[in-house]
Every structure is written in structure tokens, then in C-alpha cells.
């Protein structure tokens, strides 16, 4: 799980050009958007594409479920894990 979380953090840093942030600085439980990492709606779309390209997971941008999955790195990791178990 820690490995998967770090992989997701690397994806976030690389995809969103977070040049000043190292993966160690990202708290797995902290919110990605708004107060936490401070990402915005364009970042959400960009991460949606990255999730599809890297993990084959397609997220509906309108759904409440998506908000939950995108809340933190931990939630994204759980989503990837669930999709692998299916």
C-alpha cells in the first residue's frame, strides 16, 4: 500500500509539474484539493486522464464518488487496489 501510495504521489508530482514538492512532503491522508496540496479543477481533470492512462480507471467527473476517490492519495490508492482485485 505504501508503495502504491508513493507511486501515485510520483504520478501527481510529475503530471502536475509540482517542481517544488517532493513526494515525501505529500501526506497520504491530506486533502489534495483546496487547503491541502492546493490543487485546482484543471489539476483534477489532468489527474483523471493520468488515472486512465496509468491504471485504466475511468472516473466520471460529475459523480460524487469521484470526489471521494480524489479526496486524498490514500483514497486513490484504495481505488486502484479495488480495481485490481476485481
Amino acid at each position: 500500500m505504501v508503495e502504491l501510495e508513493n507511486e501515485l504521489k510520483r504520478m501527481i508530482v510529475d503530471t502536475l509539474n509540482l517542481e517544488d514538492i517532493s513526494i515525501e512532503e505529500i501526506d497520504s491522508e491530506a486533502p489534495l484539493f483546496g487547503d491541502g496540496l492546493g490543487l485546482d479543477s484543471i489539476d483534477a481533470l489532468e489527474l483523471g486522464v493520468a488515472m486512465q492512462n496509468n491504471y485504466g480507471i475511468k472516473l466520471n467527473s460529475e459523480s460524487e464518488e469521484t470526489k471521494k476517490h480524489f479526496a486524498s492519495v490514500r483514497n486513490l490508492a484504495l481505488l486502484v487496489q479495488q480495481s485490481r482485485e476485481k
Binding site: 502536475l16 509539474n17 509540482l18 517542481e19 484543471i42 481533470l45 489532468e46
Partner: protein
């Protein structure tokens, strides 16, 4: 018809030419063009004064445009922005078109940053500028449309100053055999003022002959040469008229 312009501040950037003193040296040398490598775009100005979360979205061209704008704005709060670029973020547009051709997923961030007003929008976010923004692509008319736009906005009376930003970069390699495009990366910003002693005039004369197509780049270098004191005037032929810029 003669129009007068008051330039409060100007700033220009090309690889190796950053300060007004460096530009003055270039203008005095009489060199016709600035030597700038076309591929790849080698260096970008340092914009570390911008918040990291905004800076990460800036391409080399956006950094050049942002840098000259920032130098001119200094502590200015609200000014209308006039951005003029022939091709804008041509490399982003090209990469997106390529992704469409390969049926790949498009990057939403890259798409939103490829539009012609993207860099102006980034500046307005970074500086909390809520004044009006105009973004032009002047085709063969060079720097003149943006200068006229700025004078028009100032003459409307609401604003005392306006910021002009000219910027372009070489086209992606694939286009270069059909459309030469700019020779190198070049950005220049002018803070123009409604009042104060005029330091430039722009005169329009009828031109019966065919208009020459001049890219913004060559006129912009003429304009910088006049601003930097290396020439008293420049003459441009475009949009069916002759335009004479003089200091």
C-alpha cells in the same frame, strides 16, 4: 494622421538580452537581428518571484512574456492588458494536434493553456488584475494593431495606463519549411500612459502599393531599437498603410 504615445517603462527579453542596458548595447551596435538559436529554445527567464503553483504552468514562452510584463508592472495594481502574439503557444497547439492524430488522450491542462489568451489569463491571476484584457494575433500587421488598441483604450478615459505585451517563439520544426515564423524567442512589454510627455509618435500615411507582410518579430526589434536609443525612427508597411514610428 499622427498619434502620440507616452511610454513610462519598457522591458524586453531574448536569450542573452535581459536588461535595458544590454538592449541599449545591442541597439547601439547596429546589428540587424539578435542572434537566437531557433531549436531548441535554450534558456528561459527566471520567474522565481511568481508563486510556485502558478509558475509550474508556464511554458518557456509564457515565462518570457510574464517576465517582461512583471518588470513593467512593478507596483502597478490595475491596468488593462493588451497581449499581441502572432502564433501564441504554437508548440502546445502542435502537441495537442499530434495527440489527436495519434488518438491519444489530450491533456486538459495543456489544452487550457494553449488558447490565445492563456498567458494573459495567468498574469491576471498572479497579479489579481481584473481590468479588461485584449489578446490579438496581428498577422502581417506587426506591432501596430496592439499600439492602436492601447491608445483606443486609454482614450476611452477609464484608465490612466495600459500594459502592452508582445511575445512570440519559433514555430514547431514541422511548420518551419512552409512558414518560416519567428527566428527566436522574443518578448517585450510597454507600460503606456495617457498623460505625461509623449516620447513616441506613430504616423499613418496612405500607401497605394501592396502591403508587405512583416511578422511582428521584425517590427518589434525595430520598436526596441527606437526605445533603446539605437534609432530615431522605424518605417513599416502594413494593412494598406505606411506607419512611421519616431522618438
Amino acid at each position: 494622421m499622427t498619434l502620440t504615445l507616452t511610454i513610462d517603462r519598457w522591458s524586453a527579453w531574448a536569450p542573452g538580452l535581459e536588461t535595458n542596458a544590454q538592449w541599449q548595447q545591442w541597439a547601439a551596435s547596429g546589428n540587424p537581428v539578435v542572434s537566437r538559436p531557433k531549436n531548441p529554445v535554450p534558456e528561459v527567464p527566471d520567474v522565481s518571484y511568481m508563486p510556485a503553483m502558478l509558475r509550474r504552468r508556464l511554458s518557456p514562452l509564457a515565462r518570457a512574456a510574464m517576465h517582461v510584463a512583471w518588470q513593467c508592472l512593478d507596483d502597478c495594481q490595475q491596468v488593462p492588458l493588451i497581449f499581441s502574439s502572432l502564433y501564441g503557444e504554437s508548440d502546445r497547439t502542435f502537441a495537442l494536434t499530434e495527440a489527436v492524430a495519434k488518438q491519444e488522450q489530450l491533456s486538459p491542462a495543456s489544452f487550457s493553456l494553449s488558447v490565445h489568451n492563456a498567458i494573459a489569463g495567468q498574469l491576471s491571476i498572479a497579479r489579481n488584475i481584473t481590468a479588461e484584457i485584449s489578446c490579438l494575433s496581428p498577422l502581417g500587421a506587426g506591432v501596430v494593431p496592439a499600439l492602436l488598441e492601447a491608445m483606443g483604450i486609454l482614450n476611452e478615459g477609464q484608465w490612466q495606463q495600459a500594459l502592452l505585451v508582445f511575445y512570440d517563439r519559433p514555430l514547431p520544426e514541422l511548420y518551419q519549411s512552409t512558414v518560416p515564423g519567428p527566428d527566436g524567442m522574443l518578448a517585450c512589454a510597454l507600460l503606456v500612459s495617457k498623460s505625461g510627455p509623449a516620447n513616441l509618435t506613430l504616423q499613418m500615411q496612405a500607401n497605394e502599393g501592396a502591403a508587405d507582410i512583416q511578422e511582428q518579430e521584425s517590427q518589434l526589434l525595430d520598436l526596441i531599437r527606437v526605445l533603446a536609443g539605437g534609432a530615431d525612427s522605424a518605417l513599416w508597411h502594413c494593412s494598406g498603410a505606411n506607419w512611421r514610428l519616431a522618438s
